[in-house]
Assembly symmetry: C2
Homo-oligomer: 391 residues x 2
């Protein structure tokens, strides 16, 4: 309902749009920027100069341009100096990203442009903050003196999608004034695959993440569905089996009671009954056993694959997504049980929606939530490059 | 990813924003427009002049200002001429709206500003287009000669949310060049309640519409969730009961097999078994019988209310909506079975999401989809007032 933007807002938008282009696509010539942003050459020049002065981009000769000038035929066609390219200052401007999983903590230093400059991993222990602190210290050592950190983001398993105490605690570990941005692993997996993975061309995406529980990151019309209080995406607590098992949430027959790690282990006879002994390794063991011909493991994969397809069919009817991505341990379950997943979707989902949906595994692999956490950290910079990025 | 808008785009945005203000809020003073749009007085003056010249708004003395000037005390405090108000030209600029329901066709002529200038209703017959044609002729007769129609919209029961043949056929009936905009009744109910009804302050809304089937109009982050091909919102085909009845869609246990009109009539013993004898009147008869103490009708309302709450709980977990609205015959089922609905939501939905959700009936009543169809027609005008509204 607000009116059009002011000149200053437009300049900020344009700076952000240019920086976002090189952040996502890498080095680009001024001509490419002119055409993709729909701005004239002099505006691109002025914006580039501002971003260069702030240390966010630099202009340089395109890779391979010098040798080519040595070839007589090329030199004739490319008279004068070659066009400069605008490149993000990936070594100088970076964010910290964390993925606090059920079993492991992953941490990375990610440069503007999305390069992972450093990456560490640790088994998750009770005192997760001291693990994070240790990893951050290791990563801080080799950082060049003129480099600066523009923020940090973290992916968590929490239902509470804006965990303020954790954000403040992580900021203290990092010595930052602003709290670290926190989001759910599935939301950040969706963000990462939509930004840099298998769904960059899709406006409507569901990213499912399985571990102990199941969560969904949902993008509709190009934007993350967060809900009224930030709690959207709890697809693991959609009830699919009214006569099913009790769920830890207090309900019964939730989707995660049928497709979570414990459901697969139970069906395969691996469940020790004490709720322990799960985890990614156990899921892989069942999938491997099924591949080797173990009949009980095969039946388990088929059973869980059927319930996986059952819930996906519901989501396909509700969202009509272009792409559904199976992340976390659901990646392995989907690959092993793809026939059951597809068969159930064919039975339960409406033709118009199911014939358009692509079923995928994360192009960014297990690091999708980690990369999403870095993108979360970069969002403030991309919204207002000179304010947020001031060195 | 595109860069900031041009001067001409900003002017268009500003014209649209001003017109949208008076369309939604009615007559507003220049001072109110200045403050709500965040533009200065001279810009508001120029925009108002452009919209006046195009015949979309007019400036006039506020209602009641003339008599007040006659009161000596008032005249002292309100020296000079009173501030003019900008009012939409509701009698002069209008849209046609249609709601093609399972049983009835409703048609209206709706003025800019949302006033229903004329409204007609007919029982739906096999040849729906000739009914529409008849109603349009009746409504066209009293239209002033200087008035003009800016477009038309129609709400349908179709799953196919962009029914092009119908849009072209309606345009022919109306003698329009552009096809009539078509959308699903639930999507338009959501749009109407979000624009003018009980959810104007909500960014996250689910509007459920029940008749023969059940459809959902979903607003997330303030925007309608349409899906990849326009088929989103088929919540009636979310499977809630894997051991339930076969559904016409080919699946089994879809939500609409448990909460649709036939489900209520069957549970109440009103089902004649031939699929006929349903409709709104039959639903009301069951609800009335329950209110009068008929035990079987009461049990039916409780049963359907429980399944209604079951599906709503799933949607609450998936979307974390601020408001859920029960439209069509689900309005009556919700009112009669509210205790069961709430109890099931309390059992199945996560605390963080269920404690924030408001359960509502449509403030616009049965006309919500019709009013949404008019809003759909006005969208083109509001996006580009001078281009779309040129007399």
């Amino acid at each position: 309902m607000r009116a059009g933007p002011s000149q200053e807002e437009i300049r900020r938008q344009n700076l952000g749009a240019l920086l976002r282009q090189v952040h996502l696509r890498g080095a680009l010539s001024r001509a490419e920027l002119t055409s993709s942003l729909g701005l004239n050459r002099s505006t691109i020049g002025a914006l580039t100069a501002d971003l260069s002065a702030a240390g966010l981009v630099r202009e340089e000769l395109p890779a391979g341009s010098a040798p080519r000038e040595g070839i007589p035929g090329q030199a004739l066609r490319r008279a004068g100096r070659p066009s400069l390219v605008v490149r993000p200052q990936s070594e100088r401007v970076y964010a910290y990203a964390f993925a606090l999983g059920a079993e492991r903590i992953t941490a990375a230093r990610v440069g503007l442009g999305g390069q992972i400059l450093d990456r560490r991993e640790a088994v998750r222990e009770l005192d997760e903050l001291s693990s994070v602190q240790h990893m951050v210290r290791q990563m801080q050592r080799p950082v060049p003196r003129d480099a600066y950190c523009i923020g940090a983001g973290a992916a968590t398993t929490a239902t509470d999608r804006a965990d303020e105490p954790l954000g403040a605690a992580l900021a203290e570990v990092l010595g930052m004034e602003q709290p670290v941005s926190i989001a759910n692993r599935a939301d950040l997996g969706a963000l990462a695959e939509h930004t840099r993975g298998c769904a960059t061309d899709a406006e409507s995406v569901i990213y499912l993440h399985g571990d102990v529980g199941v969560a969904g990151g949902i993008i509709a019309g190009g934007r993350l569905v967060t809900g009224h209080g930030g709690y959207a995406g709890e697809v693991g607590h959609m009830v699919v089996n009214p006569n099913g098992r009790p769920c830890a949430c207090g309900s019964r027959g939730c989707w995660e009671t049928e497709i979570g790690e414990q459901a697969l282990l139970r069906a395969a006879g691996y469940d020790r009954g004490d709720g322990a002994g799960g985890g990614r390794a156990a899921v892989l063991a069942v999938v491997d056993a099924a591949a080797r011909g173990d009949a009980m493991a095969q039946a388990a994969v088929r059973h869980v694959g059927d319930w996986l397809g059952f819930g996906v069919a519901n989501l396909v009817n509700i969202f009509n997504p272009e792409t559904v991505i199976f992340g976390g341990t659901l990646r392995e379950v989907f690959i092993a049980g793809a026939a059951q997943v597809r068969s159930r979707i064919n039975r339960n989902a409406l033709l118009a929606s199911r014939e358009r949906v692509r079923l995928r595994t994360p192009e960014l692999g297990e690091d999708a939530p980690l990369i999403g956490a870095a993108e979360l950290a970069f969002q403030r910079l991309l919204a207002d490059p000179l304010e947020a990025g001031a060195a």
